[in-house]
């Protein structure tokens, strides 16, 4: 109560000072100077009174055992906003908007918009255009505290609708209507989130969470639901990891379940892809789900003048998401070998994943990014069989200097991968021979965003799998594909994509050659938090 009286007095004093100041404008400059001094004196008084109030309040709070009122507690803001009067109420406006140490103006936009010749209080200013406006700018702070948590200007604006939650939540639904000349579309499409049957497909329905865990970590999670061809729901913990925010020396540590930083496509979620399906080389060498697993990763931004980052990851590499590594395969078979499915024996059984990426701006509108990656570990087809995968990727992007909504642009992306796979003799040496497969492949795609919201794309895929007289696995077939698509993004929260694929499957020792034509109509929606676009 005491506080309000004191503030009331201060406000009245200030108001009268203002009024005098306004009234005496035409007066001589010496008068103005003396008035200025008066105002200065009054301001000092007000400050002193404020300090008293604060001290008293602090004393009261101490006795009550509560937090001090001067703490930068955001819960204080709604109260201040609620008591903050509209700009039309003149005397009280002075009070509420002049006292920056108490009020961080967080109320809604002013109802009445003062125009020229009218100041914030709605009073005429006799021809002079106002140079302050307390309806848009809260009064100037006296100090900015070095911790950034003291004065009103450094307080985050707290207005309903955003920035109030401890995490961002979003929901993404990705569907496809597929038509194909092949009945076994699940053998033609190599990615687990690609269309897997003729008709409708719901292969990627995703819940995504992210946010600051505490001052030291950020947390991310992507939980994917997908419907299999019998419409049964399957759940994947696609990613769930924490990442450090403030390690020294440009280091960053990541741990949990995450996509390996291998190439361009692998670390990204299917709904961000430019095509409705995974490139063949990605699905066949890294696996239908890509290379991901439980592990840890450290990355370092190399202190050179361009962007250069070294990433080093380690994962268990076990199961279907470690496809070319410790993967027991379907029904315990991989490349026709009975797999060993053993426990980790030592460091050699982890998958080690280094990557080095560099980027430079060729011009203000052109960027290139190039990287090399590797993944090294053991596989389950023999007691000591090893797998090595090497990758190189390249991205070029041009975007207009007058881009609206990110359009127009041209983006060219290529990835090359080579895998050396030692196929052993299986569990208990049950397979007749040991072989080493040298498989390689690449894809190259060009996307042209020709108009706001519209992207046309073409892609070429090639995969060369070493022929084997002993293995009749249908996945060991060399193949290539050409794809073309057209995507419409009504906004960044939805898309509709029409894609045509023509697949060539080449003859090998066990499999005949064939051609397949497929058409996909893909559609997507995103609810919730605004997803940021990584480069």
């Amino acid at each position: 109560m005491n506080k309000f009286i004191l503030i009331g007095v201060a406000a009245a004093a200030l108001t009268s000072a203002r009024a005098q100041d306004d009234a005496s404008k035409p007066a001589a400059s010496s008068d103005v100077e003396s008035l200025r001094q008066q105002v200065q004196a009054l301001t000092e008084t007000v400050k002193a009174l404020q300090q008293q109030v604060k001290d008293q309040q602090a004393a009261i709070d101490k006795t009550n055992g509560t937090a001090p009122a001067s703490s930068p507690n955001p819960e204080g803001s709604p109260v201040a906003a609620a008591t903050s009067p509209s700009p039309a109420a003149s005397a009280a406006t002075h009070f509420a908007t002049e006292d920056a140490s108490v009020v961080s103006s967080t109320s809604n936009a002013p109802a009445g918009l003062p125009g020229p010749g009218v100041n914030a209080n709605g009073t005429a200013t006799s021809g002079s255009f106002p140079t302050t406006d307390t309806s848009v700018v809260s009064s100037a702070p006296e100090t900015i505290s070095s911790t950034g948590a003291g004065a009103s200007l450094t307080q985050p604006i707290s207005i309903g609708g955003g920035g109030k939650n401890y995490m961002n939540i979003s929901f993404d639904g990705l569907f496809a209507l597929a038509g194909s000349s092949a009945r076994d579309l699940d053998h033609i499409e190599v990615g687990d989130h690609d269309p897997q049957q003729r008709g409708f497909n719901a292969r990627n329905i995703e819940l995504a969470f992210d946010g600051a865990v505490d001052p030291y970590f950020e947390g991310f999670a992507n939980i994917v639901f997908k419907l299999n061809n019998d419409n049964e729901t399957e759940v994947e913990v696609e990613e769930a990891f924490l990442q450090t925010t403030s390690l020294p020396f440009n280091l960053q540590l990541k741990a949990g379940q995450f996509f390996a930083a291998f190439g361009r496509i692998n670390p990204t979620h299917p709904h961000t892809w430019d095509f409705a399906d995974a490139p063949i080389v990605h699905g066949r060498l890294l696996g239908p789900d890509g290379l991901r697993g439980v592990g840890a990763q450290i990355s370092w931004i190399v202190p050179v003048p361009w962007y250069s980052q070294l990433i080093f990851g380690v994962q268990n590499g076990r199961g279907g998401t470690g496809y070319s590594f410790r993967n027991p395969g379907d029904d315990g078979m991989f490349f026709d070998r009975r797999t060993t499915d053993r426990e980790l024996r030592g460091l050699q059984d982890f998958v080690w994943i280094p990557r080095w990426e560099n980027s430079v701006d060729l011009s203000p509108t052109q960027v290139v990014l190039a990287g090399v990656s590797g993944a090294f570990g053991s596989n389950e087809t023999g007691a000591d069989s090893r797998t090595q995968i090497y990758g190189a990727d390249f991205l070029y992007k041009w975007k207009s200097a007058n881009a609206e909504g990110g359009f127009p642009f041209v983006k060219w992306q290529t990835e090359f991968m080579y895998r050396r796979f030692e196929a052993g003799r299986g569990m208990n040496e049950s397979f007749p021979i040991a072989e080493t497969f040298h498989d390689w492949g690449l894809y190259s795609q060009v996307l042209w965003g020709f108009k706001k919201g519209w992207v046309a794309g073409i892609r070429g895929d090639y995969l060369d799998k070493e022929d084997s007289r002993f293995t009749d696995d249908f996945e060991r077939q060399s193949r290539s594909r050409i794809s073309a698509n057209l995507t419409w993004y009504p906004t960044e929260f939805s898309k509709i994509r029409l894609q045509y694929n023509h697949d060539f499957l080449y003859e090998n020792f066990f499999l005949a050659d064939r051609d397949v034509d497929s058409v996909f109509l893909q559609f997507e929606f995103i609810l919730g938090a605004h997803g940021a676009h990584k480069f």
Binding site: P130, V136, V137, L153, I157, Y307, S400, K452
Partner: protein, 300 residues
Amino acid sequence: MIKKILLILSTILACAFAAQAKLNVIATLPDFGSLAREIGGDKIDIIVLAKATEDPHFVDARPSFVVSLRNADALIDGGAELELGWLPPLLQNARNPKIEVGKPGRIQASQGIRLMNVPTTATRAAGDVHALGNPHFTVDPIIAKAIAQHIAQSFAVLDPPNAAFYDGNYKKFEATINAKLQEWGAAMLPFKDQHVVAYHDSWPYFAHRFGINIDIFLEPKPGIPPSPSHLTEVIAQMKAQHVKAVIVEPYHDRRIAEKVASATGAKVVEFSQFPGGIPGTDTYVKLIDTLISRLVAALK
């Protein structure tokens, strides 16, 4: 080979020392960059991420920006979600604790600014509406002063030996704006309460300051491209309210604005929120000068 390595290392060291000498400031958008130049003068090195001519909602999160942010002593951003689509992944990768929210090196321009048009319900059915309110606020010179002051105070904390220099530059800027406001206000006074059309709702703060109404938009909803049926409505409204000017920004489709203008006898006026977005506007004051003179010429 060894010589080369030594050369590279010495370059890196030289960069590091140069960085210590001046404050390394990054601004997400050119308007903040321009205000930082007013305040920081030759005591800072400034890098602006977005181009003045491109749509600030959709900027590519280029890897080179990560390098800039990694080396930053201060980051000036809007803090009102305009850069939401591209700044967060950059900051995650930049791993620079000096520019975290809450540190003196993070200057969020919207702090202390009362944002306009805060939606009462957050629904994307209304288009690309920003939950915190309209983020295009720097075009109000009074708000620009507040941001400049905020920048000056933050620079003073980060670089105490030059505190007086920053404060002096702020005072100069404030005095210039106060004087200019009289000029701008007088120029706009004859057109008080006139209606002006804009392509996108980027101008509520400008309109509020200078007493005009920029409340008809070529976009049916923020971020949604103009549709023929909506443009028909706009043309009817423009005729009814005798609208004389259609504002477009450098990244908008000017042809659509031209069509609407020719159907109504209005003029297309190229505006930019950002210094440098249109020719001859390399400083904030020159930008507002240009906007006012262009608008006055169209409304006469």
